[in-house]
């Protein structure tokens, strides 16, 4: 307990808030409250914006007050968000009219709810105890929970397009199945593929998109020049990408840590540059168009008499192809997942993880580290290539702009955000990151707040940046940070993330 002479918590918090308010006032007076502008006659006029200054003071002081009052970070975050939302609602109600003012009750009500929830849920809860031993205490049941959650999620995903189709009809559900379903699943698969390299083997690969590109161009070129069907090209694309993985791996895997990351980064860039400039083969920037679309094992998705709809006696709709693509990428992603899970329990998978933990110890036990790294690299590349072939058949058109460093960064962010090595974590992270991007396009009501030319999806990278920083502070090991042992004698107990190494190449 604090000694009696010390100020009470409330006094201290009020003092902190007052000080923060004063500092804000001092800073915002020259920056926010007064502004010099030239009017239409090019004369300088002084514009006064007191409300803006008071708003800033209110926001900062309230946040400081709550931060001093509350111990638990969740309570802090929730309460600050709630109070800010209420302040925003009050501001809207006061200063605006029409559509914007109509939003005020939402902000006020939502903010109040959030504040109440934060205080109720977290104020009383004690500080999280540090696990004393390495086995995370809560993790014993967590392993079972993760498996269960995985199966529930799988059920939801399988039902997803059909439920939407029944609910919204072919027109309404197309966007949801394509933009949310297929798009997210591509990244789930890419995340799982890269997870083998980064999460399990601990090799930092910044050029994963190269293999995605190899797969996509392999299908596009084989299909357009030789007329091979998708079902033949798909395994070929995987093999080709794996071959490139080995080719790159041989010289590169001697390097460790930062050097490996740099060389893979360069390889990713080289691939895009080659694709752009080898015009005879790839048609350069203009890309490859009219790539044959996917067929239902030979039956095309067209309105023709031999098309899918006619063959099965149903009315033609473009949604059929989209649903087929959805299940196709779902199956590909699940294959990636199952193969990874099974390999983790085989000697090769354990050697990957051992490599991540300590490469020198691996060599002292007779593990050929070069071959072990190469298999991880080749396998990751193969799944990237399969995803690439799918991407090409889905888009029908590809050019080098789809395979920039941004893609590599996004996939890596998914793996890191998900918790390196955790399959479910990676899937969750893909849903959050890619689904989040798509949702930003939907937030039209923000236009009412920030003006008509406000495009929320432009702020995607900013939001990702904040999300990454927040993750680093609160959950540096990703969404699911515990590690499941691959075998056990008596009981499977998850290993606390803090004990698991991240690997340095």
């Amino acid at each position: 307990m604090a000694p009696a002479a010390a100020p009470s918590r409330l006094q201290q918090a009020l003092r902190d808030a007052a000080f923060a308010g004063l500092v804000t006032a001092a800073l915002s007076f020259p920056m926010l409250a007064i502004r010099v502008e030239s009017d239409m006659n090019n004369r300088l006029v002084l514009e006064e914006r007191w409300p803006l200054m008071f708003a800033a003071i209110a926001f900062i002081a309230s946040a400081r007050f709550l931060a001093s009052m509350l111990d638990d970070w969740r309570a802090r975050a929730g309460a600050v968000a709630g109070v800010w939302s209420m302040l925003l609602g009050a501001g809207l109600a006061w200063f605006t009219t029409g559509a914007q003012a109509a939003l005020a009750p939402w902000f006020l009500g939502g903010g109040a709810l959030l504040l109440a929830a934060a205080l109720l849920l977290f104020r009383a809860s004690p500080q999280e105890a540090e696990p004393a031993s390495g086995a995370a205490p809560a993790a014993a049941s967590a392993g079972r929970f993760v498996t269960l959650a995985g199966f529930v999620a799988l059920g939801v995903v399988v039902a997803y397009p059909l439920v939407l189709l029944g609910w919204l009809g072919p027109q309404g559900s197309l966007k949801w199945i394509n933009n949310y379903g297929v798009q997210i699943l591509i990244y789930v698969m890419l995340g799982w593929g890269l997870n083998i390299v980064v999460g399990l083997a601990g090799l930092l690969d910044l050029g994963y998109v190269a293999f995605y590109a190899v797969g996509a161009y392999a299908y596009a070129l084989l299909a357009t020049t030789f007329g091979l069907s998708f079902w033949i090209c798909l395994p070929l694309a995987g093999i080709l990408a794996a071959f490139w993985g080995i080719l790159l791996g041989f010289p590169v895997l001697r390097l460790r840590g930062d050097y490996l990351a740099l060389v893979t980064l360069a390889f990713g860039e080289i691939i895009t540059i080659v694709l752009t400039n080898w015009v005879e083969l790839t048609n350069g920037e203009s890309g490859i168009s009219s790539i044959p679309r996917v067929t239902f094992f030979g039956i095309p998705f067209t309105a023709a008499p031999d098309g899918f709809a006619a063959t099965f006696g149903i009315a033609f709709s473009p949604i059929h192809r989209t649903i087929f693509l959805f299940y196709l990428i779902l199956v590909l992603a699940l294959i990636t997942n199952v193969v990874t899970i099974r390999l983790r329990r085989l000697p090769i998978g354990r050697a990957w993880e051992a490599l991540r933990e300590d490469e020198i110890a691996c060599r002292s036990l007779g593990v050929n580290t070069t071959n072990t790294k190469l298999t991880a690299f080749a396998l990751g590349a193969m799944f990237g290539g399969l995803a690439g072939a799918f991407f090409a058949v889905r888009q029908g058109f590809i050019n080098p702009n789809s395979f920039t460093f941004m893609e590599s960064a996004t996939i890596l962010a998914i793996v890191v955000l998900g918790g390196m090595g955790s399959q479910l974590g990676v899937a969750l992270a893909a849903v959050v990151m890619i689904g989040g991007t798509e949702i930003l396009r939907e937030l039209d009501f923000l236009k009412a707040v920030f003006g008509a030319d406000f495009d929320p999806s432009q702020y995607r990278m900013l939001i990702f940046g904040f999300a990454m920083v927040a993750m680093m502070v609160w959950k540096p090991r990703g969404l699911i940070s515990t590690r499941e042992p691959s075998i056990f004698l008596k009981e499977r107990r998850a290993v606390a993330g803090a004990l698991v190494k991240e690997g340095r190449g």
């Binding site: 354990r350 993880e353 593990v367 004990l499 190494k501």
Partner: protein
Amino acid sequence: MSRWLTDPILAVEHLSMRFGGLVAVNDVSFCVGRGDITALIGPNGAGKTTVFNCITGFYKPTQGRLAFAREGRADAAEVRALTNTGKRHARLPSGDIYLLERMPDHEIAAKARVARTFQNIRLFGGMTALENLVVAQHNALMRASGWSLLGLIGAPSWRRAEASAIEKARAWLARIGLEERADDPAAALPYGDQRRLEIARAMCSEPALLCLDEPAAGLNPRESAQLGDLLRLIRDEHATSILIIEHDMSVVMKISDHVVVLDYGALISDGTPDFVRNDPHVIAAYLGVSDAAEAEQVVAEISGEARP
């Protein structure tokens, strides 16, 4: 005659290792007897770990030959013949011989079957104790899993191999008293347990020669005694010869059959524990005086002081 001269498993001949201008090991020759516990001792920085790193392939020696006769005594003429061919391995009637200085580290562990532990423990910290011991059986399990293909389809032969690997790991855990903690991550174990787990892990790779770098460092007296028992058990029940670096003289004198002493990278004494204990060169090295005559004088002074 001593076993290390009549039937050496490893013959280190004229081994030198230079790092730039620094000569860490200078023309060292000694033999490791089959079935013996051989101790390699010397003051800090004498080059002991460097010798280990050469034997296990982590360093490529600047000079010298490391002839490893895994199963039986190798004839000197045959070793010379192998050396002249430029190959690393020959199968003789008496057994396989390997020239370790020509092999990369993982092949020394996998083919010649020399296992080691490290001065700073190198366990797979985020993996459980059981997993650590199963990783050590990697090469045998890779073959059993048909380079993962049989394993992926869950073939019965693979299942049997996996079960026996787990059983072997369990037996080793029981032997070092860690069966209860099999499913705990290695990094969460107490220091002494980690030391023993590292030795058990090396033993799971079925080595013919086990190299231990200061296994008793940081152990309390009870743990040191346990370690001595474990080493004797390994020597008596397995066909494994042991080469051990150790600072704790009580451990060295109690368990070893043969002691080799290094100082400033050079070999200064080689013989039975009794011989080495009374060798003035060794006493000189440990007391930090430069020559044997001076050492004898110091020893005489010390014993003279001790007498009354």
